[in-house]
């Protein structure tokens, strides 16, 4: 005796490959958004973004006629008014150095927050990327569909991109838009584009490195605990060892966090920006000039080629591990 099948039919052509890949990304992000931890991270990331937007907004309004700075010093006496006038004049005369430098500084600082929040979130995400799928034999489910290992991988990569966009790129771009929306001069737009571009370039480099390492680590083991230990070894432990002054540079370059810190210096070029500011701005106080030079020394970075080689080696190793593991078992 057979069962009676009360069932609707679906005989339409399947939706395209992008839809199927997006389904993986959307499901991963939906699962993540259900966790309280990720919602806290989002709150922090957008809080930092808001602070960035407020800083940018205050800076752009500082030179506006009748702006907040002018109003603030209106009753503070002639000396304060003179300082503000001088500052406004410097901004107007050296927009490239001051506006570019200020936004570079803001985005440079934000990159620390963005990277750290992304790394902390990835620590909880890494086991659910590939590890749990392997433990539950979910690869058989994915790959028995009209999907390949590459589609699966792109879907998982999309989840990491989504996390970084929500925690890092989103607040960055939103804060820039807010700053520019109320900027009194076109110079702010023109001279903030380069720092924004550098911030996005570092964001992209971080995305590639973090995505590859996270996916590689996640695919090594089928055990969640083992993956967490591996992530701890690849991130905080390796960074701790790399940060010792006595650690040889080649060994330090095997820490992706250390490499990203080095790359940050090279991309933002804070050393050059601070030195330019110290050299070109007519700063009356020698202390400020010396302070800028000291800061420039502090942010000096190491060998870029070694950093890039280290990152490339880590990315390549992660990809090799990843592709070897992406098969149904």
């Amino acid at each position: 005796m057979d069962a009676t099948l009360d069932l609707s039919r679906w005989r339409e052509a399947p939706l395209g490959l992008m839809h199927r890949r997006w389904a993986i990304v959307a499901a991963g992000l939906r699962q993540l958004l259900r966790t309280k931890f990720f919602r806290i991270m989002l709150f922090l990331a957008w809080g930092v973004g808001l602070a960035l937007a407020v800083s940018g907004f205050l800076f752009t309004q500082s030179i506006a006629t009748g702006g907040w700075l002018e109003s603030f010093v209106a009753d503070k006496g002639a000396r304060a008014q003179a300082i503000v006038s001088a500052f406004t004049a410097i901004v107007l005369v050296y927009p490239d150095v001051v506006i570019g430098g200020m936004f570079s500084m803001l985005y440079w600082l934000h990159s620390y927050a963005g990277l750290m929040l992304s790394l902390i979130t990835l620590s909880t995400l890494v086991p659910s990327l590939v590890t749990r799928d392997r433990a539950c034999n979910a690869l058989s489910i994915y790959l028995s569909r009209p999907l390949t290992s590459l589609d699966y991988l792109l879907g998982k990569l999309g989840i990491i991109v989504g996390v970084l966009v929500l925690l890092w790129t989103g607040p960055l771009v939103a804060s820039w838009l807010v700053s520019m929306a109320f900027a009194p001069e076109a110079d702010f737009f023109t001279h903030s584009l380069e720092p924004l571009g550098r911030a996005l370039l570092f964001n992209l480099a971080g995305l590639v490195a973090l995505a590859c390492v996270a996916l590689g680590v996640s695919s090594i083991s089928r055990s969640t605990k083992a993956t967490i230990f591996l992530w701890i070894g690849a991130w905080p432990l390796a960074f701790f060892i790399a940060s010792f002054p006595t650690t040889p540079e080649w060994l330090s370059s095997l820490s992706f966090h250390w490499d990203l810190n080095q790359l940050r210096g090279s991309i933002f070029q804070m050393e050059r920006i601070l030195t330019d500011a110290a050299d070109s701005l007519p700063l009356v106080d020698r202390g400020i000039t010396e302070g800028l030079r000291h800061m420039a020394d502090d942010v000096r970075t190491g060998d870029l080629a070694l950093t890039l080689s280290g990152l490339a080696a880590l990315v390549a190793t992660s990809l090799v591990v990843l592709f070897r593991r992406l098969r149904p078992e």
Partner: protein, 335 residues
Amino acid sequence: MDRPIIEARGLTKCFGTQRALSEVTIDIPPGAIGLLGPNGAGKTTFIKCLLNFETPTAGTARVLGREIRPGERSSRERVGYSPEQDCHIPGMAGCEYVTYCGQLSGMPFRKARQRAHEILDLVGMGQERYRLVDTYSTGMKQRVKLAQALVHDPDLVFLDEPTNGLDPSGREHILRLIGSLRRELGISVIVSSHLLHEIERICERVVIIGAGRVLEHDSIAALKDRHRRVVEIAPSGEPERFVAALAGAGVPVERLSNGRLRLESRTESAEWILTLLRDHRLPPAEIVANPNALHELFLKAVAGANGTTPATPPPLPPTVPAGAGPTSSNDGRHA
């Protein structure tokens, strides 16, 4: 004749020095097909090659007319797969999981959700569908695994041991469902199972694989016809008189430990046995033709592939004088 759902030409898969599949050439027509074979025979490798999980070492294959090539997706658009081992996507409720599987097959979300609920009803999942799959019992996981294989309305479904872990009523329910898939929806089903009676019940054809080769491929009816015509009779009483009547007609009879009598029929039909028993006023309680035909064929095919003789059940003795008195044998039967 319908176009074959599976066409394999010299399909070979080697793992190092071991040949898991050896030049398999077969055309499987649409229908419900049982895939039989002992452990390590190559059944799973065959399915994996057809699903593109494994790249064949040599040979070609087509599924639903689409060639299997590395990176090829379209051959799996209308194919469903329920693997043997426990598998699910962690962190999802049952209905969410099945909907997601539909989306992965290219279904729009709304349609996938609608089909997911219909299929979950069909496989007998109630409110449990709103619980995380991770918390399901083995039986529930088995049902949800079948649901994900069917959600996108495939033309062909591979079911690897689909009744593992199910209780008797659940097993019955799923077997009825699988049987209906072909008859009502026209979905071809390839069932890999060790439970021969289940295969015999739901499948029209059988493919027996052993040592990486196809040993038998035919409809169950044709295979049974080729099999020697064994009949089992359950005497309603006085078994000695049954034995005597049959022996008197020159039919070798084997007495089984469960009280039944086993004999080889002279013709396709068992009608002459009924006539004989009626003449002797011996009404049988039950007559079963070819009771273990598939089982015996399976053992025979596998033994042939291994170059050995099948261990059980033993062949009928050429001539046994009925009523000669019980004689002990190793397997507990007596002639």
